[in-house]
């Protein structure tokens, strides 16, 4: 479940449940939203892990929890070996330098009343840099993201979406972090601007030795930046795979359905393609389905899928998937498969058998 290099971030059986409270005088917890439901993975130095899924799958909650913007309900988060799961403000201070975030909405994530210089220099000033040093560094940072030094005196509304996102990236880079968590950084941008920002992110990764957790719902964009990709559905990991393999050999039916749902910008291929449309809507995370959470919408579901939650099975070279009826795997691969440690505690022991 890991790439090469030392693990920078280790996540073990992480859970994030949100309580729903009701009651006349004293509010009791009656239900819980299972936003993140036992997720484990590792992220190594210099690596980019793409995290994909549709709305409600828990990827945004997971990214916020990793940044310790939220307190996990259960499980463990380790950054550079240190346990930061329940660290207080003091304990998190070093983490905050090393782990930064870029947000989705370039229009909402920048304070409209501050100049670019002020916005980008805030993290530097917070960590003790003098004003002059900070402003000089701002110039350097703007340069790295492809903006000009004179942009520092302007306000966010004077920039386009793509430029604003560059400002957000400059701010994230200010403290020289090791890991940047990007929450849908290009979804709100035009297609041609998306390409520019994605290329910029790749350049910055090479230049500064960064690691990325790239959260997105768009499988096509994620492919370009990622070394490995994790697919989430209803709070659980469905599949984690080296990037290319996810597209050439998706093992989990949900991944296949996601890929199939993406319209190909090529009319002939689109017409020739046979696809199964996934029916229905994603279910309620308050009351997730029993067994495999995808079974109500899965065209391959059988009886066992309703009763037994499938474990995450390790197939080969870091490709894992949680499914009783995996796609695109040979008999050999199935018999050689092992149960991954990243499997949720509630998952069974049963591995898929050769057909």
């Amino acid at each position: 479940m890991s790439g090469d290099g030392a693990p920078l971030l280790e996540v073990k059986h992480l859970k994030q449940y949100f309580p729903i409270r009701e009651g006349v005088i004293f509010a009791r917890e009656v239900e819980r939203v299972h936003a993140v439901d036992d997720v484990s993975f590792e992220l190594s130095e210099g690596e980019t892990v793409g995290l994909v899924g549709e709305s409600g799958c828990g990827k945004t909650t997971l990214s916020r929890t990793l940044m310790r913007l939220l307190d996990p309900t259960d499980g463990e988060i380790r950054f550079r070996g240190a346990d930061v799961t329940h660290a207080g403000r003091r304990g998190l201070e070093p983490l905050r330098r090393e782990m930064q975030m870029v947000f989705q909405d370039p229009f909402a994530s920048l304070n409209p009343r501050k100049t670019v210089r002020q916005i980008v220099s805030v993290p530097l000033r917070l960590h003790g840099m003098s004003k002059d040093d900070a402003f000089r560094r701002v110039g350097e940072l703007l340069d790295s993201v492809g903006l000009a030094a004179e942009h520092a005196g302007r306000y966010p509304h004077e920039f386009s979406g793509g430029q604003r996102q560059r400002i957000g990236i400059a701010r994230a880079l200010a403290l020289e972090p090791k890991l940047i968590v990007l929450d849908e950084p290009v979804s709100a941008l035009d297609v041609s601007v998306q390409a520019q920002i994605v290329n910029l992110l790749e350049d910055l990764q090479d230049e500064f030795g960064l690691s990325y957790l790239f959260v997105a719902h768009d499988l096509s964009v994620v492919r370009h930046v990622s070394d490995r990709i994790a697919v989430m559905y209803l709070g659980k990991l469905m599949e984690v795979s080296p990037a290319e393999q996810l597209y050439t050999k998706p093992i989990h039916p949900y991944t296949s359905a996601l890929l199939g749902a993406i319209p190909i910008p090529d009319p002939r291929e689109n017409r020739a393609r046979e696809r199964i449309l996934v029916s229905g809507e994603p279910p309620n995370p308050i009351d997730p389905p029993t067994g495999c959470v995808f079974h109500p919408r899965c065209p391959r579901a059988t009886g066992v899928c309703e009763t037994d939650e499938p474990p995450l099975v390790s197939y080969e070279s870091g490709h894992v998937a949680a499914c009783h009826h995996p796609l695109n795997v040979t008999e050999q691969e199935i018999s050689a498969a092992t149960r991954s440690d990243a499997s949720p505690h509630t998952a069974g022991e049963k591995l898929p058998s050769a057909a």
């Binding site: 009701e22 009651g23 006349v24 005088i25």
Partner: protein
């Protein structure tokens, strides 16, 4: 829903308790508030004071006094120290005046606010908008006791157009009743007209730009239908709920100054006079009475809000 109401009732009990305790304690600590002294009149003799204290129980511990006063309030047996009249009876007599003052003013301010709000929103940026905005701001800035006194003096006393204060019971003469209330209603409304028309204007301008108004237009509705069913309907929701709260506040005591200036002999004026004399029983009773109304109206407003805006019902 039932749970909601029960919670509110419990909250009300707590609020009333807290208010009664605080008010009671205030009177215990203010200088010159010793009721025995006030009751005794000029140059009291010590034994006179002692007798009064024993009679009224002022020598007992505070807790006992408090408990006794509360019992008196709730059994309706509470008498004023200065006038010796039963407070609850007095309130019953005065309350209709306060009620009509508050209700009339509330309806008047709402009517004008909607008219002005609509007008200024439709003509936003034009001369008409700016003129009415200035008028509204002036209305907000004039204290009611000042404008009330001015109106009373110039229009009532000097010019004789309106009566010089006082209240006429509806049963006696409906026309006179309205006649006497017009100026107080106006004085009390001015402040609120200013606030509410600006608020409505702002809501309208926001709502007009909402996507669902565009959808309504794309459906082929007439501009009038769009205005009433979509723009006004949605913009008024927060206004209506605010109106309920302000009405409760006015009823619960916000009209004191108006009543005094125009000598309407309502509950507010009664409270004013009692405070002047540091007369504990009426003040305590009226305070709790007012608080009760405010809590009840708050609850009512919350229920109405949920009725008007279905999104609220979920939470």
């Amino acid at each position: 829903m039932a749970r909601f109401i029960i919670r509110r009732l419990l909250a009300m009990v707590l609020v009333l308790f807290a208010i009664s305790v605080i008010t009671f304690l205030i009177f215990q600590v203010i200088p010159g508030g010793d009721p025995a002294v006030r009751l005794a009149g000029k140059q009291p003799m010590p034994d006179q004071l002692a007798r009064i204290r024993a009679q009224y129980g002022f020598d007992k511990p505070i807790l006992v006094q408090y408990a006794r006063t509360m019992k008196e309030i709730f059994t309706g047996n509470i008498t004023s120290y200065s006038t010796q009249i039963n407070v609850v009876d007095e309130i019953k007599q005065d309350f209709p005046r306060t009620l009509w003052l508050a209700l009339g003013a509330a309806l008047m301010w709402m009517g004008f606010a909607v008219a002005f709000g609509l007008y200024t929103a439709m003509r936003a940026g034009a001369i008409g908008d700016r003129v009415i905005t200035v008028i509204a701001l002036v209305g907000v800035s004039m204290p009611v006791f000042w404008i009330g006194a001015l109106m009373n003096y110039y229009l009532g006393f000097k010019a004789g157009i309106f009566p010089n204060g006082g209240y006429v019971i509806f049963g006696q003469s409906p026309t006179d009743w309205i006649y006497h209330l017009l100026m107080p209603w106006t004085a009390l409304s001015l402040l609120f007209i200013g606030i509410y028309s600006r608020l409505l204007r702002s809501n309208l301008l926001d709502t007009i730009n909402e996507d669902y108004v565009r959808t309504a237009r794309a459906k082929g509705l007439t501009e009038r239908q769009i205005l009433t069913r979509h723009v006004l309907r949605n913009s008024l929701i927060p206004i209506v709920t605010l109106w309920g709260l302000d009405f409760g506040a006015v009823l619960g005591g916000g009209a004191i100054l108006t009543e005094v200036v125009f000598d309407l002999q309502g509950v507010g004026q009664y409270a004013y006079e009692s405070v002047k004399q540091l007369d504990v029983p009426p003040v305590l009773t009226i305070t709790m009475f007012g608080a009760f109304f405010i809590v009840v109206l708050n609850t009512f407003v919350d229920i109405v809000y949920a009725f008007l805006d279905p999104r609220i019902r979920v939470s």
